[in-house]
């Protein structure tokens, strides 16, 4: 990858090429090594029409993608990390509104990383869903060398 592109630009360039990101309609609001995933509401994200609730699978995909993107921002890897496993807790019903998510890399090893992510809607301290995931880093791994 180009030396002249910032890590955030590299991530945006990668996300622009991923079909599932386009299918979800999500994007990442990147601020240096921090970011917020944004999933604007669309009818196709619904899982239950009668109660107009977001589909758990759509929220899970969005959380996994957000966790992966945050990990890509801070880890020294060329390729996107591969998921080992994820656990998604569904805490509240996802309403027919935009969904946001922030992820934290809680352990960054040379080969693996643990990432926690939380999604919310109108109130940040009322999370709708939370994810804990383990990811396999490519060759190298470890924290990203800055400068």
């Amino acid at each position: 990858m180009s030396e002249t592109l910032s890590r955030g630009e590299q991530l945006e360039g990668f996300l622009a090429q991923v079909p599932i990101v386009k299918t979800l309609g999500m994007h990442c609001d990147i601020k240096g090594d921090d970011m917020v995933g944004v999933l604007p509401f669309q009818n196709k994200l619904i899982g239950n029409f009668t109660i107009k609730a977001l589909h758990g699978g759509a929220m899970g995909t969005f959380l996994e993608m957000t966790a992966m993107a945050q990990l890509f921002l801070v880890a020294d890897v060329e390729r996107p990390p591969r998921t080992i496993n994820i656990t998604v807790d569904y805490l509240r019903q996802g309403r027919a509104q935009d969904l946001y998510a922030r992820a934290t890399v809680i352990k960054l090893g040379r080969r693996m990383a643990s990432v926690r992510a939380e999604a919310w809607q109108s109130e940040r301290d009322k999370p709708v869903a939370a994810l804990l995931g383990h990811f396999l880093l490519g060759d190298g791994g470890g924290p990203r060398q800055t400068g």
Binding site: Q17, V18, K44, L45, H55, M65, V88
Partner: protein
């Protein structure tokens, strides 16, 4: 009058008759394009066709793990519907997915889910995704589902 949906055998029969439309009324499942293919008591099977718009890695062209999350979550929900004695809606409490090996690009993903234990308020499920058989899984899942209190009426679009 007793609700026929509260009879498990009759409900399974109803689910089988409506198998083709079951996922069509769930927008996000419809977007994924998967189908339920077989229903037995406590156990359901489905297929997720390979679709370009579900790719998660442009280099390997493999379907994103989130698609498997959606598939297994929905099949677990359907397995609950084919298990509970009385008709109830269920909501996913948590779902854990372990990825054993990457899916192969261009191939359909087969999956099955079973509801293996039910308490008064929670149903426990496990599920598998694979190309050929459960001997060589792509992913396994384990989840707990909250059994909602009865609501009156059954409307089109309700998830079982």
């Amino acid at each position: 009058m007793a609700n026929p949906m509260n009879d498990l055998d009759a409900r399974i029969e109803f689910m089988r008759e409506n198998m083709a439309n079951m996922m069509k009324v769930t927008p996000w499942a419809n977007e994924m394009g998967f189908e339920v293919t077989r229903i037995e008591k406590g156990h359901v099977w489905g297929v997720q066709p390979f679709r370009e718009h579900l790719i998660g890695d442009p280099e390997t062209r493999v379907i994103h793990g989130g698609v498997i999350t959606t598939l297994l979550d929905n099949l677990c929900g359907a397995a609950c519907g084919a298990t509970l004695k009385e008709f109830r809606f269920v909501a996913t409490l948590d779902l854990r997915i372990d990825y054993m090996r990457p899916a192969e690009s261009g191939r359909d993903i087969l999956a099955e889910a079973e509801c293996y234990h039910v308490t008064k308020s929670v149903a426990f499920c496990r599920a598998w995704a694979y190309h050929e058989s459960r001997d060589k899984v792509i992913a396994t899942a384990q989840g707990a589902f909250a059994i909602n209190k009865p609501r009156t009426g059954f409307k089109k679009g309700d998830q079982m």
